[in-house]
Every structure is written in C-alpha cells, then in structure tokens.
C-alpha cells in the first residue's frame, strides 16, 4: 500500500487531536485527544518502519524491521503510565472542584 495513505491517515488523526485539545474544555476529552495525537505519531512510526524495511540492506540486519516497532511499544508503555497519572490527577480534580472543565483550573494556587 502506498505510504501516502498512512501519512494522510496519521495527519488526519493528529489534526483531530489538536483541534480536540484546542476546542474542548472537558479534561477527559482533552486527554483522549492527546492520546489520539500520540497514537497518530505511533502509526506514522510503524508505517515508516515498514516502508524502510523494503530495502535489501535493512533486510540483512539481524534486527530486521523491528527497531521502530520496539519504539512504539516503549511509547505505548510510557503513554499507559502517563494515562494513569493523568487520570489520577483528573479524578482528584473532580473531587475538589466537582468539575473537569479545564477553564476552571487557570490558577495553581488554592
């Protein structure tokens, strides 16, 4: 399949993510959009990895086509950890303010 299709898909996802972050005020949705952007990048990473694996030199390598994919796993793990911390903050936030609207949170004090 043409690499362009992957790029278009990833860009679309990424843009949806950005727009989501910019326009929504619900912390959970912003969070989901951030994840969306992250995964758009992941998708791109995997796609490029696959594309480069076509060349002969890479095929000869013992770690054939696996570098980028391992990176993606790393990113997913870190993202999972981040999600747990982020969700925990949001839960604490909700307990304190009974809201998950980010515009209420423009002050660090109190």
């Amino acid at each position: 399949m043409d690499i362009k299709a992957y790029i278009v898909l990833a860009l679309t996802l990424f843009t949806i993510g950005i727009i989501g972050v910019l326009v929504r005020r619900n912390a959970i949705i912003i969070f989901m959009c951030v994840e969306l952007m992250l995964n758009a990048v992941n998708l791109l990473l995997v796609a490029f990895s696959k594309m480069h694996a076509v060349s002969a030199a890479v095929k000869a390598s013992p770690t054939y086509a696996s570098d980028a994919q391992i990176f993606v796993f790393f990113i997913m793990i870190v993202a999972a950890a981040e999600v747990s911390v982020g969700l925990a903050i949001i839960v604490m936030l909700y307990r304190n303010t009974h809201s998950v609207d980010v515009n209420f949170l423009n002050r660090l004090k109190n």
Binding site: V21, N106, L108
Partner: protein, 638 residues
C-alpha cells in the same frame, strides 16, 4: 634685622589680630574694650605705615618674601609684599583714614548691643586687613586675595543688620557684582600665566616678559583687568551695587566708598601702568567708560533725596573721573585724586553720618534743613568738604581734578568738555545737598527738632582732621604753572611710573600745554563750578517740601535711569527663567524622564506580556501549535 622694611608684615597682621580678638571675644568684651582694640590695631598699623613711608621716601623700596604660596614646576607664586612709593602711599591713606573711621564708629555705633558692636569692629578690622593685603601684594594673586577679601568684607558689613531683608539683598548684590568683575581679573591672570608664566609684578613688567606679549595679549589682559576694576570700583556696567551698599552703617560707607575698596581698581591699574600704556585701545575704553560713568552718576545724583544716595552717586561719578585720568595716561593725577577724594569723601560721609545721628536715623534730605544752627562743627567741616569736592581752589579737590582734566584736554578736548560739565553737576548736587541739609528752615517732625544735637567728640574729631586734610591735602600736588617743583607727589611717585614715562616719551611724546592755556582751562572749570554752586545754593536754601510727583526727565533721573529695572528684566529674569526651565524641563522631564522612562517602558512591557500567561491551558496549546506551524513554514517554504 638687616632690612629696614622687614617689619612691614605687621601692618596687615595687626588688624587681623584685632579681627580675631574681637571676633572670638565678642560675647565677653565690653564695648569700650572692643572699640579700643579695633581702633588701636589700626592706629599701630598707621604708625608702621608712616615708618614705611619714610623709609620708602628715603629710597628703601623692596619686595619682601615670606613663603611660597604655590610652587609647582610650571608656576611659582610667592607670598610677597611689595613696598614702593605707590603701595606706601596707599598704606597711609588706608590706615590713616581707616583709623579715623574706627574712632568715629566707637561713638556712632554706640547704640548697638555689645556683641554686635564687637562683630562690627571685627569686620572693620578684617576689611582693613584685606585692603592692606591688596595693596601690599607683590603679585596679582596676592592682590586678588585682598581683592576678593574686600568684596567679602563689604558683603559682611553691608549686611551687618542681617535681620533686614533689603540690606541682605544689597549685600548679596554687592558680592555678586564684584564676583563678575573678579572673573575678569582671574581670566587676565590666567592669560598672564599662559603667556609669561609668572604673576609677579616685577617679572611681568620686566622688558623681557613684556616683549613676549603681543599687542592682542596686552589689550586682552588689560581689558579683562579693567572688567575686574569696573566691578570693584563701581563703573558702568557694574556700578549699581554701590548705591545699594548704603544699607550698611554710615562709617562703613565712608570706609568702603571713600578710603579704600572702591579705589582698588584705580590702584590695580596704576600698578599695571606700563601694560595699560602699551595698550592704547584699552586706554581709550577706560577713558570713555570712566567719563560715561561720571556723567551718568552725576545726573542721577542731581535728583536723589537720600543724603547717602547722593554721596554714593557722587562717589561713582568721582571714580569715573579717576578712570578718565587713568585712561588718558594721567596715572599720577588719578592716584592724586584717589588721595584727595579719600579725604573729602570720608569727611562728607562721616558728616552725613553725624547728621543722620542727630536726626535719629532720618536720611531723607526733604525732612532736614536749617541744621546749621544746631551742629556747628559738622556744618563747617561739611562745607569744607563740599568746596573740596566741587573743585574750588585752593581746596584739595581742585588740584587733583584739574590735573586729570588738563591731561584729558591734552588727549582730546571733547573729553575735557564733558569733564567740565560733570564738574559743574558735581558742584550743583553737592551744594543742593548742603543747602537742603544745613540751610533754610527745619522741615522734620517736632520730635526730631527737639532731639537735634552736635555729635560727641569721638565723631567730630575725625571730621576736623579730615576737614583739615581736605583743605590742605591738595598742596602736595601744586601744578607746575603755579610753582616750580610744587608737584611733590609726582616727584615721589616718579619711580613707579618711570617705565611708562620712558615709553611715552619714546613713542608719542605729547606736547605740554602752554601755561596760558592751562590757566584758561582752570579758569573755565572753576568758573563753571562756581556758577553751578551759587545757583544751587540760592535755589535750595529756600527749599520747600512739595508733594508733587516729578515728571519727564526728572522722573527718569529720580529713578536712576531705570538701570536696575533694566538689569532685572533683561538679565536676572531671563536667567531665572532659564534656571526654572533647566530644573523643570530638562532635568525632570528630559534626563530623569529618560531614565525613569526606561524603567517605565520595561514595566509597561512586562505588564502587557503578562496577559499571555493567563493560565488557560487552551491558550498555551494554541500558542504552541501556532509556534510549531511557524517553524514548519520556515523549514519548508523559506
């Protein structure tokens, strides 16, 4: 001591000691003691001055070296005293007349509290000290020390009654006017240092050093020195302080205006005679300024009603005549007139003081009249003084004024003509003063009339002595046409002006006036003065007080040609506005504005930038995205 003149350092030091004792002990000394100390030190100086004068007359002139005031490689200024004919003559005048004024003051100032009395004598002594320093200094710097010193003392003495605002303003004015002149003096000294590297009289006037000076240098230096002289000796344009200086006690006026301070300028120019002779342009300027001052002041004096103001303007006028003498090269004549003027003007001021004393402080002549009956000695001595200043033969003023006028005629008959007119005005206003004060009937209040009395002996004694001097003082300078070898003063001062005479004879010897012409000139001026005198006598002995305000020209004269007002509006006011402008606009708005503006700009900028830091996560992200997009665009398209 090897040198007979070595003792001369005591002459200025004695008054200084008097100043210190009176100044330090002013809370403890009784009036009698401080008055005695003040007078005694000056008397001692006077005796020493006589000694010095005799030695000098016997040919012992000398420069006495004490210590080096400033000594660096390129300039050496020694603390030296020069004792020669000129300075010894001035020593006599200063200490002699000064002593009489001290004696007079012990009585005149008797009403003052003891503390102020001692202060007054301390200042008088300091004044005498400064004046002695001025005439004894052997170089321009020592002279300048005395020069500024007398300025300071006149400031202190004019402002003696320091609680009165007008008096302190007059004192300030005197000091500042003097300071303006002093700047000219200083610049002349700098010029000398730059050109010849020395300020000592003997070295500057030596042939070698004179040759180093171009004509421009000489003209420049002499003009600058003359500016100094206009300040000290009250000539146009710096004369206005002197009439205001009448705020001081009357004996101070006598001391400042008659004997000493104002003659400093004449002394300085006479001392620098060779420089002036070699700078004809300056001489012309001096003659014109002197004559203009003489005429201007005389016209003002015609309409003044304050007895001291009349005398003050007459002083300015007489000083103008002296400068005329200097300007036409009659140095001896000018010095001669300084001497006779010291006698008769001190006499007139002290006489006026005696009158004011009798009138309980009244100075307006319109309220006087008929005092002749009450004050015999004052009246008689005053009359003699008036005759002397009016130039009546054989009183002293005749000889000295005539000498100057004769020299002026030789220079330019026009100068002589204006001089004679001034002399006529002098006779007129002096006899107007005399008649209004002593003749006619008393116009003051009843209380004043009741109080009228002759002054005590301590005041009349100096009057008598001065009257005597005013009569006979001129006889040391009898013109050649009257008596061969009669001009003793000229013979005495000859060494001082030897260089000048030599130079004049070598370059443009002026022909002597024929005796017949000289008689005619004298006759004209005496006749003119006599007419003016008699006219004034007649007119003002029947003077009646009128309330009519004067108009036209008389008003102009009464208001002193509005010179003070003109100075006020064209010099003082603009300068004041400039100060305010500097302070409010340039300083506060300009420089401080710039400095504070920098601070304010930073503050303002920060306050504006602060809005970016809103705390809205969305805003941050948006900025971030825009930033990334900008970077992309730069990367991809540029």
């Amino acid at each position: 001591m090897s040198n007979v003149l070595q003792i001369a350092w005591l002459i200025p030091i004695l008054p200084l000691i008097g100043f210190i004792i009176n100044g330090a002990g002013r809370n403890n000394l009784s009036k009698g003691v401080s008055g005695f100390i003040g007078s005694a030190v000056v008397f001692a100086s006077f005796l020493l001055s006589i000694y010095v004068f005799i030695q000098v007359k016997n040919g012992h002139t000398d420069v006495l070296h004490y210590f080096n005031f400033i000594n660096i490689e390129s300039l050496k200024i020694a603390f030296d005293f020069k004792l020669d004919q000129l300075s010894s003559l001035f020593l006599l005048i200063i200490t002699g007349v000064g002593f009489l004024i001290h004696v007079y003051s012990t009585s005149y100032m008797h009403e003052e509290p003891a503390k102020d009395f001692a202060k007054y004598f301390a200042f008088l002594n300091l004044f005498v000290f400064s004046m002695l320093l001025l005439v004894m200094g052997a170089n321009y710097v020592i002279m300048f020390i005395g020069w500024e010193g007398v300025g300071l003392c006149s400031y202190l003495l004019i402002g003696y009654w320091f609680r009165n605002n007008d008096y302190t303003i007059a004192a300030k004015k005197a000091f500042i006017m003097n300071r303006i002149g002093d700047l000219g003096f200083l610049l002349a000294v700098f010029w000398l240092i730059a050109k010849v590297g020395t300020v000592s009289f003997d070295e500057v006037f030596s042939t070698v050093n004179l040759a180093k000076l171009t004509l421009t240098d000489k003209t420049g230096i002499t003009l600058l020195l003359f500016i100094g002289a206009t300040g000290k000796s009250a000539q146009i344009p710096l004369y206005t302080w002197l009439p205001d200086a009448m705020a001081g006690p009357t004996p101070v006026s006598a001391l400042i205006h008659a004997a000493t301070m104002v003659t400093a300028g004449i002394y300085m120019i006479a001392r620098s005679n060779i420089l002036y002779t070699m700078a004809p342009l300056t001489q012309g300027v001096i003659a014109i300024v002197g004559l203009a001052t003489a005429v201007l002041a005389a016209t003002i004096a015609l309409k003044q009603n304050d007895i001291k103001k009349v005398l003050a303007y007459s002083t300015v006028s007489q000083l103008g005549i002296m400068f005329l003498g200097l300007g036409v090269g009659a140095y001896t004549g000018a010095v001669f007139h300084v001497m006779t003027h010291a006698f008769f003007k001190a006499l007139l001021f002290l006489g006026a003081g005696s009158v004011i004393h009798a009138m309980s402080g009244e100075q307006d002549m319109r309220n006087m009249g008929g005092l002749k009956k009450h004050m015999n000695i004052t009246h008689l001595t005053f009359l003699l003084g008036c005759l002397a200043i009016a130039g009546m033969p054989p009183f002293s003023g005749f000889f000295s004024k005539d000498e100057i006028l004769a020299a002026a005629y030789a220079n330019n008959p026009l100068l002589w003509g204006i001089g004679v007119i001034t002399a006529m005005m002098t006779a007129f206003y002096m006899f107007r003063l005399y008649a209004m004060t002593f003749l006619g009937k008393f116009r003051g209040t009843h209380d004043q009339e009741h109080h009228l009395h002759e002054s005590p002996f301590a005041m009349t004694f100096p009057l008598i002595i001065l009257a005597l001097l005013a009569v006979i003082g001129g006889w040391v300078g009898i013109p050649e046409v009257f008596m061969h070898g009669g001009h003793k003063l000229e013979a005495f001062l000859e060494p001082v002006f030897a260089n000048t005479n030599e130079y004049v004879n070598a370059h443009h010897p002026h022909e002597h006036l024929s005796p017949s012409k000289e008689y005619i000139l004298m006759g004209v001026s005496v006749a003119g003065a006599l007419i003016a005198l008699l006219y004034a006598w007649n007119k003002f002995s029947k003077y009646e007080k009128t309330e009519l305000p004067s108009t036209g020209f008389a008003k102009l004269l009464e208001n002193k040609w509005y010179v003070d007002e003109i100075y006020q509006s064209i010099i003082i006011q603009p300068l004041r506005s400039l100060s305010v402008f500097f302070n409010n606009v340039i300083e506060k708005k300009g420089i401080d504005g710039f400095v504070n503006g920098t601070g304010k700009a930073v503050n303002y900028g920060s306050r504006q930038l602060r809005w970016l830091q809103s705390g809205q996560v969305g805003a941050y992200v948006l900025l971030m995205v825009i930033g990334i997009l900008v970077l992309f665009i730069i990367q991809l398209f540029l």
